[in-house]
């Protein structure tokens, strides 16, 4: 089992060739080994007259790793993330987090996994940043005594201090994206799924995101990052994959 050193992640590091299979492996067996995220032979099709979106995708992420999945528009990246998040179900196969599938134990699964969908949706326009985070902490079932601290930590970690009492509909797109990212990391998940997370972020926002990812990897969490092309791929990913024809291949 390969655990990355925290130093391996650097925003401005030069692109490096890594042994992608060491950090993020295509599962070849159904053996009972548990991973922070395992996608097991997932098949998804939207309609019978359309080709498979995902055609038996297998993927396992080792603790402390950052994995990138790319591919052209409509290749199935977001579908893969939605299945991994437990939002939609595959026709066949399953996603597991430490051996737990969403069907077996939904609450446990959703406690371990956090998903940042693409776009700018998922916020209550009329709530302030602080109220939004408090609400999210509550429905994420953060224990009562920790809610205030978790919200304060998220506000500090994602540079939202000046915006804390501002309503979402009065914020810029980049500020909203920072709030969405803060919500993703607030409950302290072990597995984070990011769909085009750099959308609308300036360099400062991107740096804030990378620091959050670094902290997560330091405690052996994992990140699965999907984006269509090599945006800012000067970042060091432990593994890079491309979805094409419903299948994963090393990038």
């Amino acid at each position: 089992m390969t655990v990355r050193s925290p130093e391996a992640l650097a925003l401005d590091a030069a692109p490096v060739a890594r042994d992608t299979l060491a950090a993020s492996a295509i599962l070849r067996t159904g053996a009972g080994e548990a991973f922070p995220l395992a996608i097991k032979h997932v098949i998804k099709r939207w309609r019978k007259d359309l080709p498979l979106v995902l055609d038996g995708v297998d993927l396992a992420l080792e603790p402390g790793t950052l994995t990138w999945v790319g591919g052209r528009n409509g290749a199935g990246k977001t579908t893969l993330l939605r299945i991994a998040a437990g939002l939609i179900e595959p026709e066949q196969g399953r996603a597991e987090v430490w051996g737990v599938s969403v069907r077996e134990n939904r609450v446990r699964y959703q406690t371990l996994v956090s998903f940042l969908p693409a776009g700018d949706r998922g916020l209550y326009a009329r709530l302030t940043v602080r109220r939004q985070l408090e609400f999210w902490a509550r429905i994420s079932m953060v224990p009562r005594g920790q809610v205030r601290q978790s919200v304060a930590d998220a506000i500090a970690a994602f540079d939202l201090g000046e915006l804390a009492d501002r309503r979402v509909d009065r914020m810029s797109m980049g500020q909203r994206q920072r709030l969405r990212i803060a919500m993703t990391f607030l409950p302290g998940p072990e597995t984070v799924l990011l769909d085009e997370p750099l959308t609308s972020l300036d360099d400062e926002g991107a740096a804030v995101l990378m620091r959050a990812i670094r902290r997560l990897l330091d405690r052996d969490g994992v990140v699965l990052w999907c984006s269509p092309s090599g945006e800012r791929l000067d970042m060091r990913f432990d593994a890079r994959w491309i979805i094409d024809g419903g299948r994963l291949a090393p990038a």
């Binding site: 179900e89 949706r121 998922g122």
Partner: protein
Amino acid sequence: MSDAITAGHAFLAVLRRDLSIFLSYRTRLVSQVLTSVFSLTLFYYVSRLVHVSGFSSPSSYFGFVVVGISMVGVMYSCFSIPELLRQELVAGTFDRLLLSPFGAVRSLMAMTLFPLLWSFILAATTLGLGCVLFGLQLHWSTVPLGVPAMALALLAFLPFGLLFAALTVLVKQGSVGTTWVIALLSIVGGLYFPVSLLPHWVQTAAKLQPFTAATSVLRHLLVGSSIGEGAGISLLKLAVFAAVLVPASTLVLAAAIRLGQRRGTIIEY
């Protein structure tokens, strides 16, 4: 136990969220109170104009209809749940509820709290305005019993909102059929006139839903109207509706969400 407490706080967080959003629209409160005043004024003068058989005086019909108007507000709140869900789907916030440990079904149950509580407050306000502005005579000795009766009525109404929410999950339209259902229930529920004026077969249909029983028992407790089948039977009806339909509608809602997840349509809006 601690999970139950945390879930309880999540329920309250949804209530607090909805209150914050409601209060952020500053004119909404004034607008709803004014609507009540206009309805009261309209029916006050209608009660003076028309002699309705079965009512001893214009005031007794006015008392009858004020409770009916209050119940219309409750009914609208109940059927607003699908539209609220639709707003969550469009805003993408439903995905977040679905992916939270609290979950979509409990979140939707919690989302019913604010509209129902608010309709309760608005109903009380309507009655209060009826007293202050138009001299409505309340039956003060039994008015306090109206509070638990109303709570039971809300529980009996809740499944209708949840069932329409399940429909919204599947067909993505918030108000599909709700307007017709509210209009129909207003008639067969006897909100504006006694059910006894309706054809016999409609009177039978009126007994098959909880709105008629709830309105009758609340009228009895609040304005002292006579109640045909007895308050105890009406309350029992409401309890049976709540006991059977709340779990059943929750299961239907959960099944609709699961179907949407299996089809992949849960993300559509």
